[in-house]
């Protein structure tokens, strides 16, 4: 409300300044009129018309009555696609419906759940009820509803070691492809900061292929839970589209962290740029086939801990493939003890509570990459991480 009033005052002042400035310019220094009285009157008429028109139109926009659609016969508020047909945000409906996010049809009214065509809030963003994208998202995604809780650890006072904090930063670690350092980006949030919408498509359009997610929560009992997490094929700033979630997706923003594509030396990862179409991805990577097993099969990283270790010696399936980013960067969990690198019986995937918030859960918390209790959004810390793949007996 305060922001709305402030904006109205700013607009009114701006109009007055413009009008006064225009009148002053029409006078010579000696006070004589620069133009004829008729022309001056005409200019006054135009100024008045603009000012009155602006003021008359502004309240109409602020207080448009949807009870009288005939007042705007060219727009059908219930038919968003009459205007937005073909835009990537609206057209993509191939995925399973996720709340109001996707599968828009002639009989649905999901658009209206978040946008208001008329009489929208003066401090709302994109005709949404919230002043920012994040604020709008958190109408539902505040821990009490929706999925993909953001900020749950922090809100509960728990230690947050790393996170993708929204509406705070314009910096992308490793975003500078030339140096591997920090890059400044023009993101979609308030004042160019990172926002939910930079990674997620709230309309379900232009999203990556669904993958097996760890986001169990209430789907713990639902077999084969797949989701695209509404992840964009082209996160903000990406210069290309990524259809499959994996290293390529991370590198769209953190391009300085990719390997083999420039002079920087980074830990190798499988990307389409370095390996081509056979590059491993989150959904298709070598995973061990059981507890304490040295054998691997092709599978998903999701819903098991078997993809977070690499047996030594490497298996034929692993070949010369490097890991994908998510094999080191995911929800914190305990996998692969230092001595063997294999998965122990005590380290199997266990989620007993919503959001993995129970201390005995493995992984604990399901908030990656929103926030993590582990530094740098890693699954483990120190040598415990490295030894998952680089076992001491293989080292020189």
């Amino acid at each position: 409300m305060v922001a709305a009033l402030r904006e109205r005052v700013r607009l009114a002042c701006s109009w007055c300044e413009n009008a006064i400035g225009f009148i002053q310019e029409s006078r010579l220094p000696n006070g004589a009129r620069r133009v004829g009285a008729g022309t001056m009157a005409f200019r006054m008429f135009i100024i008045g018309l603009v000012l009155v028109g602006s003021l008359a139109a502004a309240p109409a926009a602020w207080a448009y009555s949807e009870s009288d659609p005939s007042a705007n016969p060219d727009i059908d508020p219930s038919d968003c696609e009459s205007c937005h047909t073909g835009t990537p945000e609206i057209a993509g409906t191939e995925e399973a419906r996720q709340g109001p996010h996707a599968n828009y049809s002639a009989t649905s009214r999901s658009c209206y759940a978040c946008h208001q065509v008329h009489q929208a809030y003066a401090d709302g963003y994109l005709l949404m009820p919230g002043a920012t994208t994040t604020e709008t998202c958190e109408l539902c995604h505040d821990g009490t509803g929706g999925k993909g809780v953001y900020g749950a650890l922090e809100a509960r006072g728990l230690a947050v070691a790393s996170q993708h904090r929204t509406e705070v930063t314009t910096q992308i670690p490793g975003g500078d492809e030339a140096t591997g350092g920090m890059a400044t980006a023009a993101l979609s949030g308030y004042q160019g900061t990172l926002s939910c919408g930079d990674c997620h498509s709230p309309h379900g359009g232009g999203t990556v292929e669904p993958f097996t997610t760890d986001r169990s929560r209430i789907e713990t009992d639902v077999a084969g839970f797949f989701s695209n997490q509404l992840l964009r094929r082209a996160p903000t700033g990406a210069t290309y589209e990524i259809g499959v979630y994996g290293s390529d997706w991370c590198a769209a923003c953190h391009s300085g962290r990719a390997s083999g594509v420039h002079d920087l030396i980074n830990h190798p990862v499988d990307t389409s740029a370095t390996v081509g179409p056979t590059a491993f991805t989150y959904e298709s990577v070598q995973v061990v086939d059981g507890v304490d097993s040295p054998q691997t099969v092709q599978g998903s990283l999701g819903r098991s801990n078997f993809g977070y270790v690499m047996p030594w010696p490497r298996t034929a399936g692993q070949g010369t493939h490097a890991p994908v980013c998510q094999q080191c960067h995911e929800d914190g969990r305990s996998v692969g003890d230092v001595a063997s690198g294999r998965i122990k019986a005590s380290e199997v995937f266990t989620v007993t509570s919503a959001d993995g918030g129970t201390a005995g859960d493995n992984p604990r918390f399901q908030n990656f990459p929103h926030e993590s209790y582990v530094e740098n959004l890693l699954i483990e810390s120190y040598d415990d991480l490295c030894s998952n793949c680089h076992h001491p007996n293989q080292l020189p």
Binding site: A12, L55, S65, R97, P100, L139, C140, G143, T144, G357
Partner: protein, 359 residues
Amino acid sequence: MTPDAAVTPVNSRMRIRRSMQILSAVLLVVLLVLLVLLFRELLTGAPEYPVSQEGIRPLHVILGPGVGNRPFFDGPMGVTFGADGRIYVADSGNHRVVVFDSEGEYLFQFGGLGVGKPAAGIEPSWKPGLFNYPTDICSDDVGNIYVADFRNDQIQVFDADGDFLRVFPDRNEPLGRGASGQDGAGIAVTSLTVHGERVYATDTYQVAVFSTEGELLDQFGRPGAEPGDLDHPNGIAVGAPSVVVVSNSNRNQVLAFAPGGRFMWSFGKPLGNDLAGLSGELELPRGLTIMDDGTVLVADALADSIVRLTLAGEFDGRFGTRGAAPGQFNAPMDVDEADNRLAIAEKGNDRVQVIVIED
């Protein structure tokens, strides 16, 4: 050239100039009137909205206490009438409870942020009477107030004047056969209600039943997608004869259970891959209440309206449209009823309204 012919163009220009001057004067007068109206609106802070919404008669719009360093609500998610008609608001974003009289006049507030389960090695900042994101509030027959202290995994009880009485369950101990509290202890309570001597509370996937003193009496519900399964319930009410009605928010349903948790009926279409989109039946049911005649009122947050159901689970009306005018709603999260007056907490409009449904 006749004299008339010489004069006519001059007269014409004079007429045009005079017309322009008159028009300019008129426009300036209109402009001044509009500016006066605009500044009057800015100064009074009371925009003139339409006051009549179909089927709804707005009585009060409450934006916050209007005093102190937080004069406005921040995303209120719960509201209840006290035994004496007072209006108690769970001001979630401000971690407090704000109390008004039956006419919406501010009385007092209590609470503030207190973290009950911080990281290891950090002292809890919670003390009795502090909250961490209170999501719901209700009162019992004698006027005691029960607050869903969501992120502290507990329920706090106060007398009508906001004096702390008790807290339950133990936020650091497992609850019965398990609940969604942090570290598997306590209950991340999203909504609650008192019926007789029992307190009914929801967490992420179940219903827990306590005595008003805090003893765990029963638990039912399970996560999943089967009929009767729960997925982020955010509203609960109990009607005669002890029918427990629950908003199953993430699946767009209202469910009813018999005593002991036997599933009875559901209203609304659950989310699923076979649906074309939001059906319009229920879009995000949150808080609900049951009237004396058995009618169920549900705050449908994404549809910005109040849905009325019979106690048999049949649709009986929808009231309200999206907007910021009195009688309109933006993300209504909770509804309570007393003497046919409804109090509605709107997270999107950062306000509470008191209305009457007339139909």
